[in-house]
């Protein structure tokens, strides 16, 4: 497989291109590939989950061609990193379909799943959201206490030791504090070896690497979020971090979903970028774990809950990656409604059923516009685990899954995103239990899902 040092060298020696030019040439190349491989457009009759077994392979070939014929752009140097077909194919073949994370009795295997596979899903309950530091270790403990948690990701905050976090020195210090609180939280949960993933305070290399510390910070078996940027772009701070992490022994995870409506164009283009992007993460950052799929550029500020064609597009992407590559796929479940609401739990359920059938694992359910202490509670994560188990137990295949998702989407279609509540307003962090009203909503949502055919224990 191509080395990260080769990647670094290519970012210095590749063809120079203005970023605006790159953006538009990416659009033209993806449009050309969508025609070449006859990637279909979405119609009203398209099912929620892809049932066409010829499509994932065609989409994969289009994603490979994108990497070979257009490359990846380094925004730091303004240069194009080019790949040979052989380099891309070798990367697809040689990247591992499973990795060991964490330490001691808390070590877990993160693995690629199969489409319609029956194995339980790997699971990360959070964070990837902002919390105030007074809640920090308690919040971490609550998420780590969920038995099925395989790894836990850090969180953001605005102040550290009475200082507002502003500028690289404070960011670097905050990075170290984040990890010390994470370490304390998992210890308090009785899971000291649970793998922790550093959520970047900011993406400066100095800040990302400040978190490395075998005693209180990141140690071998832990991970770090190094995401490929939209429109097939990488940059030097994240690449430097990837190189240091490879040497130090940290695994990487990349946010590798594409953005329909961006420079990839429509849903056909988003499918192609959605496949190329995790392959880029493997090539450029050796990030074998990716949260994959397709979102809408407007998801974050959604005034309506985005459903189709995204669900179908995500299924094509995940089916292609799980069938023909070794990428370990996770589904980032980002409800447009906040915690404490039925709408949030229905959105989480819909995305979980979809992920389970498509062969993805489960990653950090978090309100798409997460505000301080209001992005998530442990309950949404617990629901994900229950829903994925119930989907597996009911033996739901793609066809039946499509029918269930269609019915579920009907319930969401007329709703508008709700802001939701802060974690203290709907969850008892001391007793690790939802407050009564939220628990009631939780029960009602499970009843609705049971009536649709899920088999809860």
């Amino acid at each position: 497989m191509i080395s990260l040092l080769d990647i670094a060298e290519r970012t210095q020696k590749g063809r120079k291109v203005a970023e605006d030019t790159w953006n538009m040439s990416l659009f033209r190349k993806i449009s050309e590939l969508a025609l070449r491989y006859e990637i279909p457009q979405y119609t009203d009759n398209t099912p929620f989950l892809n049932l066409d077994d010829t499509l994932p392979e065609k989409a994969l070939q289009a994603g490979i061609d994108l990497l070979v014929e257009h490359g990846v752009y380094c925004i730091t140097t303004g240069r194009v990193i080019e790949f040979t077909r052989q380099e891309v194919l070798t990367t697809i073949r040689e990247s591992p379909p499973e990795i060991i994370i964490g330490n001691g009795k808390d070590a877990r295997i993160m693995k690629q799943r199969r489409v319609e596979g029956t194995e339980p899903l790997n699971f990360c309950p959070g964070h990837h959201a902002p919390f105030t530091v007074d809640l920090a270790p308690l919040i971490v403990k609550n998420f780590a206490r969920i038995p099925r948690t395989d790894f836990i990701e850090g969180f953001n905050f605005t102040e550290v030791d009475g200082h507002e976090i502003l500028g690289a020195p404070l960011e670097a210090y905050a990075a170290r504090r984040q990890l010390s609180w994470m370490r304390e939280g998992v210890r308090n949960a009785g899971r000291p070896g649970l793998s922790i993933v550093f959520y970047p305070i900011t993406t400066r290399a100095a800040v990302l690497m400040a978190a490395m510390d075998p005693v209180d910070g990141l140690r071998k078996g832990d991970g770090i979020l190094t995401s490929v940027l939209p429109d097939e772009k990488i940059e030097h701070d994240l690449l430097a971090t990837a190189i240091a992490c490879e040497d130090y022994g940290l695994w990487r995870i990349s946010g590798s979903f594409s953005m329909m409506g961006g420079f990839c164009g429509g849903v056909d283009g988003a499918i192609i970028e959605g496949i190329a992007k995790p392959l880029t993460a493997v090539l450029c950052y050796r990030a074998y774990v990716n949260y994959t799929g397709v979102e809408n550029v407007r998801t974050v500020s959604a005034l309506a809950i985005p459903l189709q064609p995204l669900n179908w597009a995500r299924s094509v992407v995940n089916q292609a990656l799980n069938r023909y590559t070794n990428v370990i796929c996770m589904a980032w479940v980002i409800p447009t409604s906040g915690p404490g609401t039925e709408t949030n739990l229905l959105e989480v359920s819909l995305r979980t059923i979809e992920a389970t059938i498509n062969g993805a694992n489960l990653y950090a359910p978090r309100h798409s516009r997460a505000q301080m202490n209001a992005g998530q509670t442990p309950l949404e994560g617990e629901l994900m685990v229950e829903v994925s188990d119930a989907t597996l137990a009911a033996g739901i295949d793609r066809e039946r899954g499509s029918e269930i998702l269609t019915k579920l989407a009907e319930q969401l279609k007329a709703r508008h995103p709700e802001p939701g509540f802060s974690i203290q307003e709907c969850y008892d962090l001391v007793n690790h239990h939802p407050l009564p009203n939220y628990e009631k909503i939780y029960g009602e949502v499970k009843e609705k899902l049971s009536s649709l055919g899920l088999a809860f224990a």
Binding site: N156, I165, P230, M260, F263, R298, S301
Partner: protein
């Protein structure tokens, strides 16, 4: 002098060219307007105003995407070069100028890109500085371009203080009154915008465009 129907036909031609994202056709349509002696100022106002609304509706409903907004912007630029050259400079209202970027230590680009394209197709001259932009860079480019607005995007709770830093630097340089500052991004709220003394906040790109128009007196 063009008849009413000739005027309508020429203006429709320009609108169609922009909505087909065709810069060459837009240039030709603009030349027809000039050749027929149609008031170029009227053409700029009418054709661009209407097409901007259509484009924003298309983007909002998912009928067109970011690259189409770029191409429509290119078509508008091509046409305006022809139209503006045909009239005395002082009779054409100068375009309002926006300097936009994502603040220091933040690499998120998508929301910023959409706002930049919306502003451009809404008739603003937009200088996109990219991502991870230092506060001093926003200010120096705003001075260089004689900008009306500095637009600051932040997607991380830990980078949003850089929005405040830009405002504070403007104040310390005695430039605060010279530029309007608008803010946006995932963790940004109207309360935050008010707290740091920003002039405007947009929850999404459409709202951002409306705020920019209001701040520059293009709408009330």
């Amino acid at each position: 002098m063009a008849t009413d129907s000739e005027t309508k036909e020429a203006l429709d031609g320009l609108k169609e060219a922009i909505l087909r994202y065709d810069a060459e056709a837009a240039r030709k349509a603009a030349q027809i307007i000039v050749d027929r002696g149609i008031n170029p100022v009227l053409a700029l106002k009418e054709a661009f105003g209407e097409t901007a609304n259509v484009l924003h509706e298309r983007f909002d409903s998912g009928e067109c995407y970011l690259p189409h907004l770029v191409m429509a912007g290119d078509a508008m630029t091509a046409a305006s070069e022809i139209l503006e050259s045909a009239v005395a400079r002082d009779s054409v209202a100068a375009k309002k100028i926006v300097v936009i970027g994502t603040v220091e230590a933040d690499l998120h680009s998508v929301g910023k890109n959409i706002v930049a394209m919306m502003l451009r197709s809404g008739g603003f001259e937009v200088h996109d500085l990219g991502v991870d932009v230092k506060s001093s860079m926003f200010i120096s480019r705003a001075k260089e371009t004689n900008a009306d607005i500095i637009a600051l995007s932040s997607l991380l709770t830990t980078t949003r203080p850089y929005q405040r830093e830009v405002i504070e630097e403007l104040e310390s340089l005695g430039l605060r009154e010279r530029f309007k500052v608008m803010v946006g991004g995932g963790p940004i709220t109207p309360e935050w915008a008010k707290q740091i003394g920003a002039d405007g906040y947009g929850a999404d790109a459409m709202e951002g465009l409306e705020v920019a128009k209001r701040l520059t007196g293009l709408s009330s």
